[in-house]
């Protein structure tokens, strides 16, 4: 087994008096798709956000390619999110003012890539995700499924090592959800990108190669999915 791309060790996170994580440890291998499942309030999203450097754990450590990131500065963690991580959330992840094509190109634009090159690459990815015909529309003019495709394109455009997906099909009907998961899992495998999916839906978890079940902020089982 190769070295994990990202690891969380002994992660503890409190929100006020409530313990969201109670010493969770997890390894994510390069290119694998891991589903973090559990009931509502079990700490799934908190774990994902701690691994992604969005939240700082109260205790424990997060390492990305062997480098500790939970104590990195806000700017360093921002740069990680820009270049090495991708995000697909249930909603609210797209900039409402920018058209779809610019939303896809956003991480590149923030990274200082020339506008021409960023837009060219965004056009390629919008084609791969099947949203090239709505590139000029702003998110408010897109269906929920189209928004998620745009979000996936944006998450993958930088060639990230890990994509964090928090209930990526939560706002979609079953058909659109299937399409989005097929695209996400398929493209991630094609790009050798690890995916951490937080979900409470078994049909979504079925796309993962491994499941991690959380209950009350602790890992209950780690199971491979056949």
């Amino acid at each position: 087994m190769s070295a994990p791309v990202i690891t969380g060790h002994g992660l503890v996170k409190h929100f006020g008096p409530t313990a969201a994580l109670r010493g969770v440890s997890i390894d994510i291998q390069p290119g694998e798709v891991v589903a973090v499942v559990g009931a509502s309030g079990s700490g799934k999203s908190t774990l994902l956000l701690c691994l992604a450097g969005v939240l700082r754990p109260d205790e424990g450590e997060v390492h990305f390619r062997g480098t500790r990131i939970d104590d990195a500065s806000e700017a360093e963690r921002s740069r990680l999110r820009r270049s090495d991580f991708g995000f697909v959330f249930q909603f609210g992840q797209l900039v409402p003012e920018l058209p779809a094509i610019e939303n896809i190109a956003l991480p590149l634009l923030l990274d200082g890539v020339s506008r021409r090159e960023a837009m060219t690459r965004a056009a390629e990815w919008s084609g791969r995700l099947g949203v090239d015909d709505v590139g000029a529309k702003v998110p408010g003019e897109l269906s929920a499924g189209q928004q998620q495709r745009v979000a996936i394109a944006r998450a993958l455009i930088t060639g990230p090592s890990v994509v964090f997906a928090d209930e990526p099909t939560g706002a979609l009907d079953s058909l659109a959800g299937e399409e989005v998961m097929l695209l996400l899992a398929g493209l991630a495998r094609a790009e050798a990108t690890a995916v951490v999916i937080v979900t409470h839906e078994s049909r979504v978890a079925a796309y993962a190669s491994r499941e991690v079940l959380l209950r009350d902020g602790a890992v209950v089982t780690r199971a491979g999915v056949a």
């Binding site: 969005v54 700017a75 740069r79 995000f87 992840q93 900039v95 409402p96």
Partner: protein
């Protein structure tokens, strides 16, 4: 990053446009207030400097037959049902008397120089013609305002000494910059030396700017939810806190620039009204370019600084405003400092400035209140 910020500022939809318009309007009102107050004060001081010098020249005094100078005797003429006319009787003393400002020479005995408005009224028959021949027009250097009714009558020395024993000799007139009534808004120049009321002008500006801040705050709240969603999305996409400050500063600067433009247009319009009312000469309302530039640049700068500093939670949390965290202690410390500062200022006012030089106290209070206003501009978006 600046280009992206400009695109975001320009593509915010109706909410962002409304916010931009409100903030620009408020900033424009603020800038117009500052420029009108300062410009009006400067203009009034320039105007009164001239009329004071006309009525009581600073270089006047007693004289003897051997002196070189100009005998100077101003008086107010009030005829029934006619406006007051200022008449300055002058007579040459010696061979080389000083030439009064606004004239090309001393009027010869029996001749009169009149202001433009007085000439117009004489020609219209609404004012009796003066005794003597009208030989020319008095320039603006001798007038307080364009509609001043002033005349300068030339006398024989002996006749004026006999007619007005109180007449004083003017040895010379103060050197002044050329009074160029060019009609331009700006010129390079200095403030009038008599601008001793500046602290109180600043105080007035501070008080007047408070309602403007309310408008700015109201503007900042328009479309706040959508704006916060956008900022959170940018953070999630990997924008660093510094980049977020740049992006929002650009947005604030756009509002500030628009506000500055609104302010300058409003000032030019008000200035035109004041001039058309004959209340001021163009040159009186001309401010030094540097100072106007500073005030105009302050709009975008303060708006940009305010926007950048107001990033708040969403600047550091890519999850948006839904997940708030407790207020940091640092802000409470600033609050305590601000309250202490206000109490200090009130103390100075309430104690009658005991132990402090009046001018120093006035400056402290004025700068203090101006500081509060700047602080509110900076902190405003965090408070609303």
């Amino acid at each position: 990053m600046i280009r992206l910020g400009l695109r975001l500022a320009g593509r915010g939809g109706h909410g962002a446009l409304a916010r931009l318009a409100l903030m620009a309007g408020a900033i424009g009102v603020g800038i117009a207030l500052v420029l009108v107050l300062v410009g009006g004060t400067v203009g009034s001081l320039r105007r009164s400097e001239r009329t004071n010098e006309r009525n009581v020249p600073s270089q006047q005094g007693g004289y003897s037959a051997a002196d070189e100078g100009l005998l100077w005797a101003p008086q107010e003429l009030q005829a029934p049902r006619t406006p007051t006319v200022t008449n300055i009787a002058v007579a040459a003393l010696g061979a080389d008397p000083p030439v009064p400002p606004g004239t090309s020479g001393i009027p010869a005995p029996g001749t009169v120089l009149v202001s433009a408005e007085l000439r117009r009224r004489i020609e219209a028959g609404t004012i009796e013609p003066p005794p003597g021949r009208v030989a020319g027009t008095l320039g603006p250097e001798m007038l307080g305002r364009p509609d001043d009714l002033v005349m300068m009558t030339g006398w024989e020395l002996a006749a004026l000494r006999a007619a007005d024993p109180q007449a004083q000799m003017v040895a010379s007139f103060p050197e002044r910059d050329d009074f160029t009534n060019t009609g331009v808004l700006l010129e390079n120049g200095d403030w009038p030396s008599a601008l001793i009321g500046l602290p109180f002008v600043l105080l007035g500006i501070s008080i007047l700017l408070l309602p403007v801040l309310v408008l700015v705050g109201a503007g900042a709240r328009v479309g706040a939810r959508r704006r916060e969603q956008r900022l959170a999305a940018l953070r999630l996409a990997g924008a660093t806190p510094h980049e977020m400050r740049v992006l929002t500063a650009v947005e604030g600067a756009v509002a500030g620039l628009a506000g500055s433009a609104v302010g300058v247009v409003a000032v030019v319009a008000l200035r035109q009204v004041a001039i058309e009312q004959d209340a001021f000469f163009f040159a009186d309302l001309t401010l030094p370019l540097l100072w106007v530039g500073l005030v105009v640049v302050m709009g975008p700068l303060l708006a940009a600084a305010s926007a950048a500093l107001a990033m708040g939670r969403v600047a550091t949390k890519p999850l948006g405003p839904a997940r708030e965290v407790p207020e940091p202690v640092g802000r409470r410390r600033w609050s305590v400092l601000a309250v202490a500062w206000v109490v200090f200022l009130i103390g100075i006012v309430a104690t009658g400035n005991d132990g402090l030089d009046g001018a120093i106290a006035a400056w402290i209070v004025a700068i203090g209140f101006l500081g509060i206003v700047v602080g509110l501009i900076v902190a405003g978006p965090r408070l609303v």
